[in-house]
C-alpha cells in the first residue's frame, strides 16, 4: 500500500513584526516632525553661534533676499502683513513673531518691519537663525 504524504503547508508569514516596525517609524516621524508653513520663496536664515533653541508656535514672517514677504506661508504685501499681524496681536498680545529673513536680505527691509511690529505691541519678536558650528 502506498501512503501519500500530506502536502506541506507553507508557514504563514508573520506580519506582526512588520507592523511593529512601520508603527515605530510612523510614531518617530510624528514626534520628530513639526508641521510648519514654509515660505513660497527661498529663505536661507543667517548663521549664528549664539542663538537659542526656538520653540514652536507663533506667526512666521518670511523675508526673501529681494524683499518679498510671506506670513505663515502665504505671500503678502507689506501692508497686508502689518494688517494681519495687527489683528492677530489684538487677539493675542503675547503672540510670538518669528522673522525668518534670508541671510542676504537688506536691513532696510527687515529692521523697519521689526520696529513696526514692535511698535504694534508685540512683546516677543525673534529672528530665526541657523546654528553655526561650535
Amino acid at each position: 500500500m502506498k501512503l501519500a504524504r500530506p502536502p506541506k503547508r507553507a508557514a504563514p508569514e508573520t506580519i506582526v513584526a512588520l507592523i511593529d516596525v512601520v508603527f515605530f517609524l510612523l510614531v518617530f516621524f510624528l514626534l520628530v516632525g513639526r508641521m510648519d508653513a514654509t515660505a513660497p520663496f527661498d529663505v536661507t536664515p543667517p548663521i549664528a553661534f549664539e542663538g537659542t533653541d526656538m520653540p514652536g508656535g507663533g506667526a512666521t514672517l518670511a523675508v526673501s533676499a529681494d524683499g518679498q514677504l510671506a506670513l505663515d506661508g502665504t505671500e503678502r504685501t507689506r501692508d497686508g502683513v502689518i494688517e494681519m499681524l495687527g489683528e492677530r496681536l489684538a487677539a493675542d498680545p503675547g503672540l510670538r513673531i518669528r522673522i525668518n529673513a534670508h541671510a542676504g536680505a537688506a536691513l532696510n527691509t527687515v529692521l523697519p518691519l521689526a520696529a513696526e511690529i514692535e511698535g504694534m505691541g508685540a512683546q516677543d519678536v525673534v529672528l530665526v537663525v541657523t546654528p553655526g558650528a561650535p
Binding site: L25, F29, D53, L107, E118, V129
Partner: protein, 139 residues
C-alpha cells in the same frame, strides 16, 4: 445517534489593510517633513529701560558706537575691524567696564548676515547691553 455541530471559526481580521494604511501614513510623513535645525535671536525686549539717569552714570557707561557699513564690514571708533578683532576689542572694553552698552548702527544696505555676525561677536565678548539703532528720514 448524536450529531455534533462543526465548530465555528472566529472571523479572521486581515491585518493587510491596516499595514497599508500605516505605510501610506509613513510615506506621507517622510515625504512632507523637512528637517530644519533652527535657532533664534530675540530682537525685541520689553524690559525696563536701564539707561543711566545721572551724569556720573552716563560718563561711566558711555556707550560704544559700532557701525556696519553697506559692504557688511564693521567700524569701531571709525576704524574697520574684522569679526574676530571686534570680539577681542570688545572683550578688553568689557574687562574694564562690565556695564558698557554697545549701540549698533547698521547701514540699510547691509544684509542680515552682517548684523547677525556682529551681534554674535558682541555676545561672545561678554557685552550684556546692546541696542540696534536705525536712522529714519525726517518727513
Amino acid at each position: 445517534m448524536q450529531i455534533t455541530r462543526t465548530k465555528r471559526h472566529g472571523v479572521v481580521v486581515s491585518l493587510v489593510a491596516m499595514v497599508d494604511v500605516l505605510m501610506i501614513m509613513l510615506v506621507f510623513f517622510m515625504v512632507t517633513s523637512t528637517y530644519l535645525d533652527l535657532d533664534m535671536i530675540p530682537v525685541a525686549e520689553t524690559g525696563e529701560d536701564t539707561s543711566p539717569q545721572t551724569a556720573t552714570d552716563a560718563e561711566a557707561t558711555r556707550p560704544i558706537m559700532l557701525r556696519i557699513g553697506a559692504d557688511g564690514r564693521s567700524y569701531l571708533g571709525g576704524r574697520a575691524v574684522s569679526v574676530a578683532g571686534l570680539s577681542e576689542q570688545l572683550s578688553d572694553i568689557v574687562r574694564h567696564n562690565p556695564a558698557v552698552e554697545v549701540l549698533v548702527l547698521p547701514s540699510g544696505q547691509a544684509d542680515v548676515q552682517a548684523l547677525v555676525s556682529v551681534m554674535d561677536s558682541i555676545t561672545q565678548s561678554g557685552v550684556t547691553r546692546m541696542r540696534i539703532i536705525r536712522l529714519e528720514a525726517r518727513p
